[in-house]
């Protein structure tokens, strides 16, 4: 009788010694996502959910290179007007519908024609699709479009099941069906979104959780408290001011990546009567304001150094950063000289900012810095929706606002500073800049594009319709048992290779 007992015991010991993988991963989000339809949605947190739910045609590396996902290879025709893509042949949607070139054509058409589609502008250059065979599709564009591949690396490239989309129509987002590693199970508004592992996923072995639960927890302190209490395994957007305390906690780990976006001041240069002030009319005055700001100090004071100082539409870590224009050092004397040259020694300006306490703190620091150069800044806090509508209407002098960023540089600059740009609230218009940015869209040669963007940023750095100040860092905190997580500058949570030990 002794022998089996020993055997049983050792078997039990082995069981406890082997790492046990937990079935569920709980992720605390900073907001509640909007509608879960890749063609209709617009929130950042929605994209975090899609990273587990909906595979895209292509993905990015942490260095922003485009890599295969549902498409295995692609090439542009000689004239850059036709994109040919080869597709994986082992993919099915979560409802069993096969993924093929027809499905891709359906998705592109849906992004372009669904009335509620938010992707229209992203795929506007596409004039048609041609299904060559089930794994080959040709996409033709009206004019060369260098941004298209990057669009396919985001929501415009997310493939939804044609069967499900046809059946649900505009309500597809209530029960989305895609081709990702996890399928949609349930959603309770403002409470949770639950995804379950999709067994037939082509790369299912890379995903170790049976279910993934997303919990929107808006308050940063409470989000962190939930992580500490073990109620969630991972949180996104840890507050910069909590970085020190999380680093000191042995039970938690942290990952960071500088975001693709920017934060700064948009100056009203030609958007209605409010542009009639020294800051709107004279670039020297804007240069003076920019020179008065110590960007690194803003980062240190408000974010305890956890973010990155900046002076361009993309962060210094980006391959698109113009190295000839390093972050300017603060220079009060030079700022005063600029003001003297412009003939306004003590100008006054109103900066509007959202009611978010951190954003207000940034403006107050800028206010104090500008004061030393003789610039009087009046800070006016406005609730975000109000700030946005006044900014669009031109009812502002300077607005402190940011942009979450796009993989392709075009997404961070074109619509903000071209004469007809959709979000050009400054109403800045410079035909030379328009030409450069349009040319940069039309070539697929990365080096040539970089040269064009360098020229454009040089002009913008002189004209300063936007004064870039800093770049947010995505900061994820997680239980020390969670391993294998890789930080990406797009702020997404990719669960391939992530596991959790109990």
């Amino acid at each position: 009788m002794k022998k089996p007992t020993v055997l049983t015991l050792s078997a039990m010991l082995m069981l406890t010694a082997a790492p046990l993988f937990a079935a569920d991963l709980k992720i605390g989000l900073a907001e509640d996502p909007d509608i879960l339809d890749p063609d209709q949605s617009r929130t950042f947190v929605g994209r975090i959910v899609y990273a587990s739910l909906c595979d895209k045609l292509v993905d990015i590396t942490p260095d922003l290179e485009i890599i295969p996902m549902l498409a295995t290879e692609w090439s542009w025709s000689e004239d850059n007007l036709t994109l040919t893509m080869k597709l994986r042949d082992d993919v099915t949607f979560q409802d069993g519908t096969p993924f093929d070139a027809e499905a891709v054509a359906y998705n592109i058409n849906r992004s372009q024609t669904l009335e509620e589609s938010r992707r229209k502008s992203e795929v506007a250059s596409i004039t048609g699709t041609n299904v060559v065979d089930p794994t080959t599709i040709e996409i033709s564009v009206a004019q060369p479009d260098a941004t298209l591949m990057a669009q396919f690396a985001d929501r415009a490239g997310m493939m939804v099941s044609p069967t499900a989309a046809e059946a649900a129509g505009v309500d597809f987002g209530n029960a989305p069906v895609c081709a990702g590693p996890y399928s949609f199970t349930e959603r309770v508004q403002q409470d949770r979104i639950v995804l379950t592992k999709f067994a037939e996923y082509y790369n299912a072995d890379a995903y170790s959780f049976d279910t993934v639960t997303f919990l929107p927890i808006v308050d940063t302190t409470v989000r962190l408290a939930n992580l500490r209490a073990g109620d969630v395994d991972m949180i996104e957007r840890l507050a910069a001011t909590d970085v020190a305390s999380v680093s000191a906690d042995d039970g938690l780990t942290m990952e960071q990546a500088t975001s693709l976006g920017y934060q700064g001041l948009t100056v009203n240069v030609a958007n209605g009567d409010k542009a009639q002030n020294p800051f709107g009319q004279d670039k020297l005055v804007r240069q003076a304001l920019s020179l008065s700001i110590d960007r690194e100090a803003v980062n240190q004071v408000v974010f305890e150094g956890a973010f990155a100082a900046g002076n361009q539409p993309w962060p210094p870590t980006s391959p698109w950063y113009n190295k000839d224009l390093p972050i300017p050092a603060r220079d009060i004397e030079a700022a005063k000289a600029k003001l003297a040259e412009a003939g306004v020694e003590s100008p006054t300006v109103e900066i509007q900012v959202s009611t978010d306490p951190v954003a207000q703190q940034v403006t107050q620091v800028i206010q104090a810095m500008a004061a030393e150069a003789g610039i009087t800044v009046n800070v006016v806090a406005k609730e975000f929706a109000t700030q946005l509508s006044q900014q669009t209407a031109g009812d502002y002098e300077i607005s402190q606002i940011g942009w979450s960023g796009r993989v392709d540089p075009d997404g961070n600059i074109h619509q903000f500073v071209t004469c007809e740009g959709g979000i050009n609230d400054a109403k800045y218009c410079n035909l030379e800049v328009d030409q450069l940015l349009n040319d940069a869209r039309a070539t697929n040669d990365t080096a040539a594009r970089k040269a064009l963007y360098d020229q454009a940023t040089a002009i913008l750095d002189e004209d300063l319709p936007l004064i870039y100040v800093y770049h947010q860092n995505w900061i994820w905190a997680m239980d020390a048992g969670v391993t294998g997580f890789a930080a990406y500058p797009d702020g997404m949570i990719r669960l391939a290779g992530v596991s959790k030990a109990e």
């Binding site: 909007d34 209709q40 409470d191 927890i217 209490a229 109620d231 975000f384 929706a385 946005l388 979000i423």
Partner: protein, 314 residues
């Protein structure tokens, strides 16, 4: 009694209509374009024009109002601009959550507030009265959100007794549901308990000095019987009024508490809706709240009559 309730319900109809007009207009006065709030970062002009058309925001205000009230009468409160879900579905989803929170908070408020009020009135001027007053005063002065965060840090993070936030429907798992709601209900209840204690105390003080209580004592009744049977019953009439009014405060307080404890209830829904200029949701919620409030008032008037049958003649 039935006639009384019927009469009150009839009066309620114009009140509710008036509230609906008021809310509708007030909302239109809010700065900030709902379409811009909805479009978010990608706010290009074509999208804005399309959304404006889709949600009939180009129609004159009175047309918008009549469309809305006409649909509301048929039980359709519109759809959320943000998530495309029907407002009635959202309300049906959130209302039970907030009712559970409110009931549990009222429970805490009543079991703490009323006994403390009785005791401090009965032991007026003694140390018990002092302690009860100090506790009540702190309950009133400590902000909910601060107490909430402190409780989370203490009870969930340090002691690990209760979940830090989240919500479990009562029907799914009653025990877990009570556990998740315990802290928020307590936080919400403490502030109310303090108000309740102050009111019970002053009502009791008044009643304890009245002639009939002296008579009851003179008859040789036991103190327990005098206080509970004779004094408390009459002192409860103003307290019931306060509890009804507190219900409104509860809904207001729930906004903050739900935010802190991430409870997917009415309060959180309305705050998010206001910030997103989700008009349909705000209107739907205010309408429902107004109706609930009016019903609570009718209920409390009916309760007076149960507590004090003499009032039935009035």
């Amino acid at each position: 009694m039935l006639r009384f309730i019927g009469h009150r319900l009839l009066i309620a109809i114009p009140t509710i209509l008036l509230i609906s007009v008021f809310v509708f207009l007030l909302q239109k006065l809010l700065p900030g374009d709902p379409v811009l709030a909805l479009a978010g970062e990608d706010r290009n002009p074509e999208m804005l024009a399309f959304l404006r058309e889709k949600y009939h925001l180009n129609d004159p205000i009175y047309v918008q109002y009549f469309n809305w009230i006409w649909n509301a009468l048929q039980g359709d409160l519109g759809i959320s601009l943000r998530t495309n879900q029907p407002v009635t579905t959202l309300i049906a989803q959130k209302l039970p959550v907030t009712i559970q929170l409110a009931v549990m908070a009222l429970f805490f408020a009543v079991i703490i507030g009323i006994p403390a009020g009785i005791l401090s009135a009965y032991k007026k001027g003694t140390w018990i009265d002092w302690v009860a007053n100090i506790v009540a005063l702190s309950g009133l002065s400590i902000p909910n959100f601060w107490l909430g965060i402190m409780m989370i840090l203490l009870v969930s993070v340090n002691l690990g007794w209760l979940p830090a936030s989240g919500y479990q429907p009562f029907t799914d798992d009653p025990l877990q549901s009570l556990k998740t709601m315990m802290m928020p209900a307590f936080v919400l209840g403490t502030g109310l308990a303090a108000t309740l204690m102050r009111h019970t105390r002053s009502a009791m003080l008044g009643v304890l000095q009245s002639d009939y209580v002296r008579t009851a004592r003179a008859k040789g009744l036991g103190e327990r019987s005098v206080v509970v049977k004779h004094a408390l019953r009459n002192a409860l009439v103003p307290v019931v009024t306060v509890v009804t009014l507190l219900f409104g405060e509860l809904l207001a307080g729930a906004v903050l508490t739900e935010q802190i404890f991430t409870i997917p209830g009415f309060g959180k829904l309305v705050v998010d809706a206001v910030f997103n200029r989700d008009y349909a949701v705000v209107q739907g919620i205010v309408l429902c709240t107004a109706i609930a409030f009016i019903l609570m008032n009718i209920l409390s008037d009916a309760l007076y009559r149960v507590l004090n049958p003499k009032m039935s003649d009035q």
